[in-house]
Homo-oligomer: 282 residues x 2
């Protein structure tokens, strides 16, 4: 099996590692704008060899794992290049724009829009991990637009990587993912900023920060090059989720100002319900 990964970072690199493990005969090529990253991917044996756009027509699977603005630009050209029996899988965190851009592409049937919900706050080939996708959810949009045999090949891959599949339309995906993923990143980035701003002259203060702070601010380590285009593409949904979040924070502050600590208790107690929800995620 011949596979090309476009963007050999955290997601693309982790895909490459698992593909080589589950398909021992696979030859995995990598394409990356960042020559140093591509070299690193070679040295770490994340990929087998460097690939190029000109030979995409020979590939069985092409995986796109680059920032979502670059995907929108490059995917029509990738589809132009591929052969009739190549499946091109996008893995970005927004799905409406990409599905829209490819809607009338003559090779739309060679494309599968996916979003594997997996990752860490790190980036680049050196962040790639084996088994990153095991027991994670993979959301597939507009599955009916992909050729049946190519769907099968992609689903076999996802199954071998240990993912569970959910089908969803692109608009619903982008609306819900704003709340359960994109908003978390903003809350974390702004928490980090708030504390750094306040405490920048107090070098010892971070000694006071415990595992709670560390966990809440973890996503503020994420790559701005990846996240800026996501916020741009999903602007309306993200602004809506931010509005709701800010409203709740203002309400919390108001209860404190009014010394209404009983209501505050109930707010937090109700939110403890997140325990059950998160347990359901396991």
């Amino acid at each position: 099996m011949k596979v090309t990964i476009v963007g050999v970072g955290l997601i693309g690199g982790s895909m490459a590692i698992d593909i080589k493990a589950v398909y021992p005969n696979a030859v995995v090529s990598g394409i990356d704008l960042d020559k140093n990253n591509l070299q690193k991917a070679m040295e770490l044996h994340v990929i087998d060899q460097k690939g190029d756009f000109q030979s995409l027509f020979e590939e069985d699977i092409v995986i796109i794992a680059i920032p979502v603005d670059a995907s929108v630009n490059i995917l029509p050209k990738v589809l132009d290049q591929v052969g009739d029996s190549t499946i091109v899988i996008d893995t970005g965190s927004t799905k409406a724009d990409i599905c829209n851009v490819l809607r009338d592409h003559p090779k739309r049937r060679n494309f599968l829009a996916a979003h594997p919900i997996a990752g860490t706050e790190f980036s680049g080939a050196q962040a790639a991990l084996a088994n990153l996708f095991r027991n994670k959810t993979n959301i597939i949009c507009e599955v009916e637009k992909t050729a049946f045999t190519l769907q099968e090949r992609a689903l076999e891959l996802f199954q071998k990587l240990g993912m569970r599949i959910r089908y969803m339309d692109p608009a619903s995906h982008d609306k819900h993912i704003a709340f359960v993923s994109h908003l978390s990143h903003i809350s974390s980035f702004m928490l980090g900023k708030t504390v750094i701003d306040e405490e920048k002259n107090e070098r010892d203060i971070f000694d006071m920060a415990g595992s709670g702070f560390e966990s809440t601010v973890r996503l503020a380590k994420s790559s701005p090059a990846m996240w800026t285009p996501i916020f741009k593409q999903n602007k309306d949904n993200v602004i809506h989720s931010l509005d709701k979040y800010i409203e709740n924070l203002v309400q919390f502050k108001r209860l404190m100002e009014q010394d209404d600590f009983e209501s505050l208790y109930h707010e937090m107690n109700d939110t403890n319900h997140i325990k059950t929800i998160l347990n359901g995620m396991k």
Copy 2:
């Protein structure tokens, strides 16, 4: 050595476990308003026996690990009971009120105000963990007001539990801890609330939540009975930190509305500096 733990929950219970490990001759008694929790602590061998307030004068160490409003009420009475050579250590997350309440107590020299920065989002005796305090920071306030020999006993205990000590005045402690701990809990609780509110009719949506959401919302599982009094006691500092946080979120939203994604990139890139800060915490 005789030790009584008042409040055999996550913090008090974890202290008990470690004390029994590092002082094999210690007899650890537990006091808890919640009879079921006390029974559980006995069954789990977190404590050796049930204690009572009447015999506190015999103890070498008394550790107070209860909600901060209860500490302010109970600590003057505990100090009334203890012997001349008992050290009473408070472990709460706010320090100004407690130091203020005990300022003129005749046995102020028997008291040490501490805040071990350690914990998880769980509570009760069954949440107690061995080695919870290892390599964690313990903030001590007004150390000069504690009798020297009793300071020594407490510091030996903290050292054996593996903690590093920082000295700070109570007002500075409360000001900084609002940013690096209390604010994280609010950001997490309100993130949980926002997502639950929005998605309550969408039972499958949490399948879409990944490890990022889980990490950011983890603190929303915390005990409201513990956190409500903390927010009450540290009201002014917490409101100040919330104001700054809300300002930053509103500013982030404004940049999105203005399509100023370049500034958004720079905001996030600057905040990536949190990586270095968190590495410094290790």
